[in-house]
Amino acid sequence: MSKYLRNTFSDFWASKVSKIGVFFLFIVITVSIYTLITFPLDYGVRYWNNPKYWVDNPKAAMPQWVNSFLGGGLLDHQIISTSVPQRSYPSGIYYMKFYEHVFDLKVDQFPTFLTLKLEKLVYYSSRTPTIKLFVTRPDNKTIELYRLVAEAPLPDEHPPYVRYAEEPKRILLSGETQLSYFLSEFLLKEYHVTFEPSEVTKIGYEKVIFGELYEDNFRPLKGKYIFTVLLHTLDSRDQIGKTTIIIGGQIYGFMGTDILGRDLSQGLLFGFPVALLIGFITSVLTTVIGASLGIIGGYIGGRLDDAIQRISDIMNNLPQLPLLIFLTFIFGGKLWVIVTVLVAFGWSTLVIVVRSMILQIKSSSLIEAAISLGASKWRIMAKHIFPQVAPYILSQMIFYTPSAILSEAALSFLGLGDPSIPTWGQILEYGFRNGAVFLGYWWWILPPGLLIVFSAVTFVFIALGLEPVVNPKLKRWR
């Protein structure tokens, strides 16, 4: 067998296409392994479809590296945290703790949003502490942005009272009406301009906080901003475990984000093993079922063969898409539904080809010899027929893989996919659904599309490399 395998391998390796294909496959497999090691298996449910996880990210942000092409004019997303107060001193009976966050606005852009996050507030006094947020601008103007009183202790609670420990308190300042009043006051005081709070909301808080009014327009004010979280409390032991200021940028991460702020690089990475798995499982199942039925029907013949042929004819002529929609409607969009449908519609073409190969092999003297030795039907099929069609079946299996990947992508694109697992098709679908094409969010659309093509091409190249092995006429002279 070894010489046969060696010859087979050299036939396969001979063309450039197979070398490229194997190289691509190596990339796909390596990335998939890396992904499976670094990400938990329930990533889809736990993180991808969990909006809370992405809440701190900018929405529809471009990849970070775009900034270098655009001359660095875009605002990077910043998350500034601190756990230790910069200053803390008593003031009368009160105690003040200042948690400071410094943000340097270097570009001519407004942040896209502003969030304050508080984690693990611990307080001892019976009077609940107050938390205030201020910002000191580069022009030395200070604006109070937000005021919050911690939740009072419950009747059966004892000090120390812990708040925001399991779930951080997230305040999306960009959506808080408090700010509109504070900012309206600020504008009146500083610029002697009247803007109603509702107008301020319409303009956008970020423009007011980070900008200066110039001829009816707000221009970004570059420079250092200091955001201070003030804990106003009675007990000096009171503290906030961690305060965070999130400045929404325009760029984020390696591949940017989608409209929910999801880090696309994670989603795309996860798509690798999923594509590989779907492609592999579908093609293996399809091939095993199709080849077995082809061999059994072809060899045993008779009514069994007729039955198999009729069934595969029917399957070939059933409309795949409407049926898939129907099943998705009944069972919900689940991965196993997709795989089942792809397999169910895939095996029939293989049956026909394998069967015709078997019919030819059946009349060879090799099979006659096996019969005359007394071999049973099953022994003949397994030991004498199968090895002769195995190379073809193997190459078909590899050829099916890209079509399975593309089919899944198409189905997800049509919205029939499994939303609990991020696949490239899913990402594409979500993008299209949210108008990414019209809004020009190319980083959301192009990468998944290219990756789908790349993975399909990988297997196509490998299958092309396998062709001379399978088709003796294409063999190089030996």
Partner: protein
């Protein structure tokens, strides 16, 4: 002593569907009776379309006859199939024409020869012994070297010996050899045929030797049956038939074969015109009559001659056999 294998009035037809409603019947073997004894070789000689290969396959039940009886070791096996036939398969084996396509290229020599032993339930130890013995019987030395090889590593002659070893390993009592040497170099044929003859003596096997080469039949068979268009037209001891053939077809067949003689090129060979008939629509009466130089145009055209006995253990199917025998 009763015959090892007795074929009685065997008719084996193939049916081919032509178009939606028509089915053509190919009368490959059309009423043939023949028997083979232990330790003897019967050569079935004929050209393409004579039905000789089909007869061999029928004898081994690789193809089912439409009518007639197959009696092996006094048991009627005509209607048996599947598992009921397993004992028969152990005792009756086939040697195939093409040593290239009858061996599984994915199996080692050991696996090829071992297969019948596995099918018929021999223990591992017994299998090993028998494999080595079979390889030594067919003179593939040293056996230990050959068992690890694959068919493509051997020459045509060696492969054919592996095929013979495979059919011998069960120690059968009956062998059908279908053109066993026609794909082997001329200078190696006699080696294989001698081998088969020695093994026949050693194991007292009956052999049905199917060939188109009447000359090898002369030296390697006890009896010859000449087949034409699905029927046996002459049968008898090889030496007798070939020294004095009776049937005009047998004569024609022998005339067509040259011996190495430099004078041959100055003379035209004595031939009969035409070609063997279409097995779907054989000629009426005697199937040879369209080509026979002695056809009387009447009886030969209308009446099919039956195989008739002659004194020297011969049978001929020809209306004018008596006249020819006097020649």
């Amino acid at each position: 002593m009763s015959a090892l294998l007795n074929l009685q009035n065997i008719k084996t037809y193939y049916y081919v569907r032509k178009g939606l409603f028509k089915t053509l019947t190919i009368k490959a073997v059309d009423d043939v009776s023949i028997s083979i004894d232990r330790g003897k070789t019967v050569a079935i000689v004929g050209e393409s379309g004579s039905g000789k290969t089909t007869l061999g396959k029928t004898a081994l039940k690789l193809v089912e006859p439409v009518s007639g009886r197959i009696i092996f070791e006094d048991k009627d096996i005509t209607r048996l199939s599947g598992n009921d036939l397993k004992w028969f398969r152990r005792k009756a084996q086939m040697i195939f024409q093409d040593p290239f396509t009858s061996l599984n290229p994915y199996m080692t020599i050991k696996q090829i020869i071992e297969e019948p032993l596995i099918i018929h339930g021999f223990s591992e130890k017994e299998r090993e012994e028998r494999i080595i013995k079979a390889l030594m019987d067919v003179r593939l030395y040293p056996p230990e070297e050959f068992i690890l090889k694959y068919p493509h590593m051997l020459s045509g002659g060696q492969r054919q010996r592996v095929g013979i070893a495979r059919s011998l390993v069960l120690e059968p009592s009956f062998i059908v050899a279908d053109e066993p040497v026609s794909m082997i170099d001329a200078s190696s044929r006699a080696e294989i045929l001698f081998l088969m003859r020695d093994l026949q003596k050693k194991y007292a096997m009956g052999i049905m030797y199917i060939t188109h080469d009447i000359a090898t039949a002369k030296y390697f068979s006890d009896n010859i049956a000449i087949m034409y268009a699905g029927k046996i037209i002459e049968y008898g001891p090889s030496q007798v038939i070939l020294r004095e053939p009776i049937h005009p077809y047998t004569v024609a067949l022998m005339n067509a074969v040259p011996d190495p003689d430099p004078q041959n090129r100055f003379k035209m060979r004595r031939i009969v015109p035409g070609e063997p008939p279409n097995p779907i629509n054989p000629p009426s009466g005697c199937r040879f009559h369209p080509r026979c130089p002695y056809s009387d145009g009447q009886r030969c055209v209308k009446e099919e001659p039956q195989m008739r006995d002659f004194d020297d253990h011969r049978k001929v199917a020809c209306h004018y056999a008596e006249q020819f025998i006097k020649r």
